[in-house]
Symmetry: C2
Subunit: 338 residues, 2 copies
């Protein structure tokens, strides 16, 4: 479709016209390198004059590295993942990498996406998607390009992963609600196939059971707001209601708050206590003021990048599985029952 | 950092081992091409066995096209732009392109970003950022790679752009509030340097003036929620309050709703009418149920891609400026005053 003119101008020509060294020309066109504003301008002017197009292609043939990291993302509606994408992009750019985005929302599957990432000879891939099947994860690991899973674990353990310790998080939230005197405690689950939801729920339920309680009721969504509305309506339509609900994401907790107040005339926290998960920005908005569980996104992102960089340095390194601790953040949606 | 082994295996070798044609191997590694599941698997198995890494690099040297589109994005907190990013990525992937993401949130400026995009010889660039200065836009257009501005216009008119007709949108909203009987009508502005805010405000104020009204009061934010909180507090702290407020984004309108209810005990719409702009998903949540102005994101995205594809086909095409009409969506936050 686009046919660009062949470019026979070299960086040496640009350096001559700009009156700088060839190394300076190279620095201007290398991600993450500092160049003075004056020199940058002279190089760009000379590049324009000569119609010079610097070529990562030529460089990557020499260096065997494209300095591209592929990021696979599915959840474009969820600000937790969008914040992570922003942090990944900024940090990788600062490290001299560029980001190629592979969108598997909608009909695009990871099966179709990974061969394309490899075709561009990306140096590494970060996968941030809740619905990777284990066979798929295996398929990723077969390629030589290092892959790190962000905020999820694969069961077989054959791919690097960096994740919040969801099982412990679930336990902490259960202990907190019990300490606040609640006995009728419910759970609204996220996507049942996801490791994040499974571990949160396992930790939550097992901590309840250790205190002689069982789950009062259980709803199921897919982490997103609309699914939370449905789950909340079903849960609150029963004659006897829970006094406290842990929702596996802030979005579902906000949906529960909206449904409780708008459709069931329940006051939060007077009539119903609610705990979310993630601590997305909206959880702190005055209308929600949601008690939730902080996932430390920036730390998760930093560690994911570090694992990837280590794997690039040492392709034979042992598979890393990092579980980071989060923290319960008390705001205004849980009441003590006496 | 990453030094990959030189790859001397060709697609012919892979085709031989997989028992398929060389064209099939090529299709498996070409974005947007359909291949049967069986053949795809055989090719990937053979590629793994031979340690074959298909090279977009080799192909791009022949075709003079990398099939990469650069997307420059700043507003990662704003779901209007995130939805656009998702649509851009999905649609470009379906067309056989890959997306390189350039994140200019935080400290990364477009000045630093564009040379990198060019270094990767992207076929084209889409810029979705509210704060591009006109000189910068000029600098973009100096390069031969086509650039299209999404949801903004540059004053000099030298770069393609696709944008909602914000001036007309502002007029429609003013006419609507006047028709509903309001006379004390206020405005909370977005980023004052942005073309989107300027045109919305110009249309809004001029339509008021044509009906003999002037702006009752004016606040200023930056389109995002926290700035809306501040602007709303200042606006509602005055002894005489407006009866209706048009906010230049849904996020600021939601902040105004939260502040009005939580901090000033005002009922919406009984005591205060509020209109937003964008129609992001949250605007429809029961708690907000916000009357707003729809920007047709998908149509804006489609047209932006079409302009870019046309510019790739015909680099000499005249500069395109498209203004698309939106539509006022009545929900529950505006009351008729009688």
């Amino acid at each position: 479709m686009a046919h660009k003119p062949n470019n026979r101008v070299s960086s040496r020509d640009v350096a001559r016209v700009a009156g700088v060294s060839q190394a300076t020309v190279s620095r201007v066109f290398t991600p993450g390198k500092q160049v003075s504003e004056d020199k940058r301008k002279r190089v760009l002017d000379a590049a324009q004059e000569l119609n010079y197009k610097p070529s990562v292609i030529a460089r990557s043939l020499i260096q065997n590295s494209t300095k591209i990291i592929g990021i696979v993302l599915q959840k474009f509606e969820n600000l937790f993942y969008i914040r992570a994408l922003d942090l990944f992009s900024q940090k990788l750019q600062s490290l001299g990498y560029s980001v190629m985005l592979f969108d598997i929302n909608g009909s695009h599957a990871v099966e179709d996406t990974l061969p394309i990432a490899l075709q561009y000879q990306v140096d590494g891939v970060i996968i941030t998607s809740a619905t990777l099947s284990s066979p798929l994860v295996e398929e990723c690991s077969r390629f030589e390009t290092p892959v790190v899973l962000f905020n999820r674990v694969n069961e077989s353990g054959s791919v690097h992963s960096v994740c919040t310790d969801n099982r412990n998080a679930g336990r902490e939230i259960a202990d907190y609600l019990i300490k606040k005197g609640h006995k009728k405690i419910a759970y609204i689950a996220g996507e049942s196939g996801s490791s994040t939801n499974r571990y949160r729920e396992e930790g939550f339920v097992s901590a309840l059971e250790e205190k002689g309680l069982s789950l009062f009721s259980r709803g199921e969504g897919d982490f997103e707001y609309p699914s939370g509305l449905e789950a909340a309506r079903a849960m609150l339509s029963t004659p006897e209601k829970p006094t406290a609900v842990f929702c596996s994401s802030d979005y579902m907790a906000m949906a529960l708050l909206d449904v409780a107040r708008t459709e069931f005339a329940l006051r939060v926290p007077e009539d119903l206590s609610v705990v979310g998960f993630d601590n997305i920005p909206m959880a702190g908005w005055p209308n929600y003021n949601l008690t939730t569980y902080i996932q430390y996104t920036e730390k998760l992102v930093d560690n994911t990048i570090n694992v990837l960089l280590e794997a690039l340095e040492d392709p034979g390194m042992p598979i890393a599985h990092q579980f980071l601790q989060g923290r319960l953040l008390e705001r205004g949606t849980v009441k003590e029952i006496t």
